[in-house]
Amino acid sequence: MLHLNDIALRYGAKTVVEHLSLSLAAGQIGCLLGASGCGKTTVLRAIAGFETVREGSIVLGGETVADARRSVPPELRQIGMVFQDYALFPHLDVAGNIAFGLGRLDRAARRARVDELLELVGLTGQGGRYPHQLSGGQQQRVALARALAPSPRLLLLDEPFSNLDVELRERLAQEVRAILKAAGTTAILVTHDQHEAFAVADVVGVMADGHIRQWATPYRLYHEPADRFVADFIGEGTFLPGRIVGAQCIEIELGEICRTVPFGGRPGDVADVLIRPDDIQHDDASPTRARVLAKAFRGAEFLYTLELPSGARVLSLVPSHHDHAIGEAIGIRAEIDHLIAFARGE
């Protein structure tokens, strides 16, 4: 459906994005995830047609919409966009905003389409209100309905939840995914928030310095990060030093982990092993003790920062009825299903 083939984007002499490729199948929701300044919004604007592609090409539904030589103007690409600040038109009511891109339809068809979308986003009967009369969440849904109204071939969402408060953000992220899936829309989301990315997207690209480091499902990003950067960026965790022993095992302070070693190390090589908070189980019966350095209450769980006898640190998620004091030594056990390790110095 959408292919970015080895594209490069520049502002003047400054290269923002280089050698970037990705593909999205019809009906799939993709996400570009990265810190601000990593180039993700520039990629989105290039797909929309607001930035010039210097190298490579963008192919949408079999049609090349942009390459180094030509560029289809944004209004002819049939791509929808939800802006970070929604960019609703304050002089038009909700129905007027949604109908804005429906110029080709006659009046009756336009009204029918507007009603259909109001229902889709759960704002039935609100067509006569003006943007300033709506809450942030409602404005967001109007922006989504407006972008979906002309049935775009592809929908772009630029940090669509960043102006909402945290609770609303999570609920709306799930809602938006449901709406997009119900409409069968192909979409790309740009965000710096991994929870948002995981809640909405089928496939996520972690970006840094104008490159996609890994393009994979959220599950694989978390459990099989391609490199140290992705491992660090996604989820929480700490690295423990380890040593490869035998063909299938790595020995760390908490014991031996026997899984397929993810890089081609030989016995005796030194490695860094990523330990996630959910890899460390609290077990009073365990002989391995660790001292509580800090704790953060998260409602159902505590996130403990623990110090091992060697001085290395690990994180552990523990059900919150296990309330231990700082300084206390508690029993722990490593239960690692996914071995994530990188050769030292990589």
């Binding site: 209004e75 929808g80 966009m81 038109f89 804005f100 110029g103 972008a147 002309p150």
Partner: protein, 552 residues
């Protein structure tokens, strides 16, 4: 109103609301006397509706009104279209497009604000009239049959007033385009609308509250203009009021005419207040780069900006300078220090008075937020919409009545004068303060609004009494706003013509009055000398405005 009630800022559930309600009369006690400054002249003028004098109306309806109404409508339509065309196009180019010299033009296109309409008017007439340098040169070059459109025509008045007042539309529209940014245009493009169509379907409608606001201000100035139309002998309400009073000595007729003019300007004021409210909902900060113009469009933009700047400011300023060098030696004599002295004295006193009143009003509105105070503050600042000629009539009538009353009491006691207040600087100041209160109130009030309630409450919780809060928190933070108010009012009074002309004591001439006397005799070169002083003073607030613009 239902949606307003949902907005906490409007329904104001402040814990101190009850306290403020209890002391509501204090807010009214501060704002009512200030509001009377505007209300009394307005009511006096409008009261002439209550006592219609059939013979005066018959005379006006037959000889004065047809021409005056036709000319006024012509000005409203012509100048309205003129300022929209100039203001919106220049605002769009300098706010949204990129072309050589854009930053310079964005600043320089405000300069015509410094040139009063009456100065632009006489310079244009002097330049372009049959005996002026342009037509003389054309005849020398192309023979006696060379044709040039006559400047002394309705077209000429419309052109001059459009060039003088377009900055109101320009400034507000530029502000609107800059805040909407490119985001709205991009949103429209993503919905399949081309950029050109998006300009008309999105950018202009979104900027409408600002554009209409600028338009109503420009039209208020047009209706209030006295000096420029006098130069053209183009009869409007203001010149008719002046003639009725000073040529026919018929004050009731002047008052009847003023009451009609007030209806026009109040209609404009209502529109202006309404769109001002709409702007709240349109405010959106949007960034994005400007549209880079290429090829013809690029140089077309440069040419258009340069043309307007040349015609509206640079050429008139050069012509003024040229005339001044010719008459300087003969004309600059001991009368001039007196003209300048009176202008500066009047402007300084008015500025101080307005700043003090503006501070009192802004404080009253801040402290006592009841409906009565709010309404009185609104009424008090309505004077910006009321033409100077109307205020002059409205202030003169009650003062004359008061004078007669006092003379009836004092003359039997041996008082020998013919007037007590008439023709004093105090009376001029009352009318000027009413006219320019809004000019001073605006910067003071916006400074006041930047002080948060929490800052006030922090000061109170640190043990300061309310008067100390005013002295130690408000005044220091309002210094910038007060300075702006002083400067703007000072310069507006320097430029002001009709109030000074109509309420001054005989022979108490200022620079603006001097300009009027020289232009009414067609001596453009001798009018240039006082005019140049006024223009130079007028540059001060424009420079201040641009400094603020640069900070934003």
């Amino acid at each position: 109103m239902a949606e307003l009630a949902l907005n906490p800022a409007v329904s104001d559930p402040s814990p101190h609301a009850a306290h403020h309600r209890r002391h509501a009369w204090r807010g009214v006690a501060i704002s009512l006397p200030i509001a009377l400054l505007t209300l009394i002249p307005l009511l006096v003028v409008l009261a002439s509706f209550l006592s219609p004098q059939p013979e005066i109306w018959a005379h006006l309806a037959q000889y004065v009104l047809p021409g005056v109404l036709r000319n006024t409508l012509l000005l409203i339509i012509g100048v309205g279209l003129g300022v929209l065309g100039l203001g919106v196009s220049l605002a769009w180019l300098t706010a949204m497009c990129e072309f050589p010299g854009r930053r310079f033009f964005a600043w320089a296109l405000m300069l015509p604000l410094a040139m009063p309409a009456y100065v632009l008017a006489f310079v244009m007439v002097g330049l372009l009239d049959f005996t002026g340098p342009v037509q003389t040169w054309l005849r020398a070059a192309f023979g006696g049959s060379a044709w040039f459109p006559p400047i002394r025509s309705s077209g000429g008045v419309v052109l001059v007033l459009s060039l003088a007042f377009y900055p109101y539309v320009y400034l507000l529209a530029r502000n609107a385009f800059a805040t909407q940014g490119r985001r709205a245009l991009e949103a429209a493009q993503m919905l399949g609308v081309s950029r050109r169509a998006a300009f008309w379907r999105v950018a202009i409608p979104m900027a409408r509250p600002w554009i209409v606001g600028g338009l109503t201000l420009a039209l208020m100035e047009t209706l209030a203009d006295f000096g420029a139309v006098s130069v053209f002998n183009f009869d409007t309400f203001t010149t008719a009021i002046y003639k009725a009073w000073f040529a026919l000595f018929n004050l009731p007729a002047a008052s009847q005419l003023a009451s009609l003019l007030v209806l026009f300007v109040l209609a404009l004021a209502v529109v202006e207040q309404r769109v001002r409210g709409e702007r709240l909902y349109h405010a959106r900060a949007g960034g994005g780069e400007r549209i880079a113009l290429r090829g013809t469009a690029r140089w077309g933009a440069v040419a258009w900006c340069a043309l307007v700047l040349l015609v509206a400011f640079v050429v008139p300023l050069i012509q003024l300078g040229h005339w001044v060098t010719q008459v300087w030696a003969d004309d600059f004599d001991e009368r001039y220090p007196a003209f300048i002295g009176r202008s500066v004295l009047l402007a300084a006193l008015a500025a101080l008075l307005v700043a003090a009143l503006a501070l009192a009003l802004a404080y009253a509105r801040r402290r006592y937020r009841d409906g009565g105070t709010r309404w009185l503050v609104r009424l008090a600042t309505l004077g910006y919409a009321v033409p100077g000629t109307v205020l002059a009539v409205g202030v003169f009538i009650p003062i004359a009545w008061l004078d007669n009353l006092l003379l009836a009491i004092f003359q039997p006691l041996g008082f020998e004068g013919f007037q007590v207040f008439k023709g004093t600087v105090a009376v001029m100041l009352l009318a000027l303060a009413a006219r320019f209160l809004a000019v001073g109130f605006q910067p003071v009030d916006s400074g006041m609004q930047r002080i948060t309630r929490n800052q006030e409450e922090a000061a109170r919780s640190l043990g300061l009494r309310s008067r100390q809060v005013l002295l130690r928190l408000h005044l220091p933070l309002l210094r910038g706003g007060l300075f702006t108010a002083l400067l703007m009012v000072f310069v507006d009074v320097m430029k002001e013509m009709p109030i000074t002309l109509m309420t001054r004591a005989f022979g108490w001439d200022t620079l603006a009055v001097r300009v009027f006397e020289m232009t009414s005799e067609g001596m453009w070169d001798r009018a240039a000398l006082p005019a140049l002083f006024i223009v130079l003073a007028g540059l001060l607030p424009v420079l201040l405005l641009t400094r603020h613009g640069a900070e934003d």
